[in-house]
């Protein structure tokens, strides 16, 4: 692995986007960053601006209101970027699939690298999802 690829794998900065989720997955993402699971040991930092991010963590089925904003945030993330769909809603649209206000799931709109399923998924699974995504893409 080259030094650039290694650096990319070792320093995935996360931006978290809620596209109409119930906040269950969002709370699990926050839990994954707490000292107990400590995602920073793998170099993950939660950043507040999509301009700084490498990994886009998307939760929720994409609602009609969120669709243009979701595409805009996706385009604001500089290349190379990775998308991780967190939760069953983001992965498959689950109970909301086909609803009149739902445009999702996420992979209908942007390419998704890793799906982390669960309602909500456990923090360990989210950390694993991030690591798998960057390794698959850059490693």
């Amino acid at each position: 692995m080259g030094i650039v690829a290694r650096s990319r794998v070792k320093s995935p900065w996360i931006f978290h986007l809620n596209t109409g989720s119930c906040a269950g997955c969002d709370i699990e993402i926050v839990a994954a960053l707490t000292p107990r699971y400590d995602a920073e040991r793998l170099g993950c930092v939660l950043v507040g601006s999509p301009r700084h991010a490498d990994v886009l963590l998307v939760t929720g089925p994409v609602t009609r209101q969120m669709l243009p904003r979701f595409i805009r945030v996706y385009e604001q993330v500089p290349e190379p970027k990775v998308v991780v769909a967190v939760g069953t809603c983001a992965s498959s649209g689950s109970p909301f699939l086909g609803g009149q206000m739902v445009e999702g799931p996420v992979d209908k709109i942007v390419p998704v690298d890793v799906y982390v399923v669960g309602c909500p998924p456990r923090p360990e699974a989210i950390v694993k999802g991030i690591v798998t995504a960057v390794k698959k893409r850059f490693g």
């Binding site: 030094i3 650039v4 290694r6 650096s7 990319r8 070792k10 320093s11 000292p35 400590d38 920073e40 040991r41 793998l42 170099g43 950043v47 507040g48 601006s49 301009r51 700084h52 490498d54 604001q76 500089p78 290349e79 190379p80």
Partner: protein, 323 residues
């Protein structure tokens, strides 16, 4: 121009050129140690010590985005200037200690370069066209007024004490006295306290990071910066922190002075000063940012004008009285 006691001009130039890679490596390394200790104090494993190097290389190889609303020339030039000025400030200090040379007024230059790098970051933020950048700009300007005045007065008290504006004369004074400046004179002890109080604000560390405030105004001036620009700003911040702590430890706590003035001691003295700078970094940046929560702009401003400013005024008065 050089008023050193030893060292040919060529040696000084070689030492000066050598310091740039040293500043680059040491500042990022200290930043990594800071993050590791911060994590350990929160009972976490924490990132590896070389994490800032990974971040730097990764950011250098990312896409550069210049927002349509930004004034693109200012936006793209400023990161380089900010990194250059803060690395230069560290390089001047390192060269002085390593080669035993300095020029008159270099402390003024270092003070100017340090202020310059923080001003450039905020101007970059305000040129990005993002409202958060503008809020960050106004907050940083408020903080600059708050901490630059006590910092400048602290410098002034040192100038009065050593009767010179040259950095190396401050070190020579300590070698001559055979003790650290802060231990030898009461005025310098007060001045050192004022200086150390100003470091967290100058470093944008947590109790005083109102201009960046990542959970509030999402990094303020840095909000629109991506890729290599962000990498340069991170480097600028790390090396300005290094410069501040190194300056504090050599101006006030020059430990090698206690062991006399040996000719072969200079590289050793430099390493001792670096270790001392790391300890000061821990005490003035890592501990406050782990222990305290963020202040409001008004509270931070009040702290500097009620606590640090009177201390630095007292230091100047004591220094002028010859204490």
């Amino acid at each position: 121009m050089f008023c050193g006691v030893k060292g040919e001009t060529m040696d000084v130039i070689t030492a000066f050129l050598l310091t740039f890679p040293i500043v680059f490596v040491i500042s990022l390394l200290f930043d990594g140690i800071d993050r590791k200790i911060h994590a350990r104090m929160q009972r976490r494993v924490g990132p590896p010590i070389i994490q800032p190097f990974y971040d730097f290389i990764k950011l250098l190889n990312k896409e550069r985005i210049v927002p349509a609303m930004a004034s693109s020339q200012i936006f793209t030039v400023l990161p380089t200037l900010a990194a250059a000025s803060s690395i230069l400030s560290s390089a001047i200090l390192f060269t002085s200690v390593m080669s035993g040379t300095s020029f008159g007024g270099d402390l003024v230059v270092v003070f100017y370069l340090l202020a310059m790098s923080s001003v450039l970051v905020t101007i970059g933020g305000s040129s990005s066209g993002n409202p958060y950048g503008a809020i960050g700009f106004s907050r940083k300007m408020t903080m600059l007024i708050a901490y630059e005045v006590p910092l400048l007065l602290s410098f002034l008290s040192v100038f009065l004490k050593i009767n010179s504006t040259s950095y190396y004369n401050a070190i020579l004074t300590q070698v001559k006295v055979g003790s650290m400046l802060a231990l030898a004179f009461p005025s310098m002890a007060v001045s050192a306290v004022a200086f150390l109080l100003c470091i967290p604000a100058a470093a944008d560390a947590v109790p005083f990071d109102v201009s960046e405030a990542k959970t509030e105004i999402i990094y303020g001036p840095l909000v629109e910066y991506s890729g290599p620009y962000l990498a340069l700003f991170k480097l600028a911040k790390a090396s300005s922190n290094l410069s501040l702590t190194f300056l504090a430890c050599t101006l006030f706590f020059y430990l090698p002075a206690l062991f006399g003035d040996g000719d072969s001691l200079w590289l050793g003295a430099f390493i001792v000063c670096l270790l001392l700078a790391l300890i000061l970094w821990f005490l003035t940046i890592t501990v406050p940012r782990t222990v305290f929560a963020r202040m409001k702009v008004g509270q931070a401003f009040k702290f500097y004008w009620i606590v640090a400013l009177p201390l630095s005024v007292i230091a100047v008065v004591l220094s002028a009285l010859g204490l």
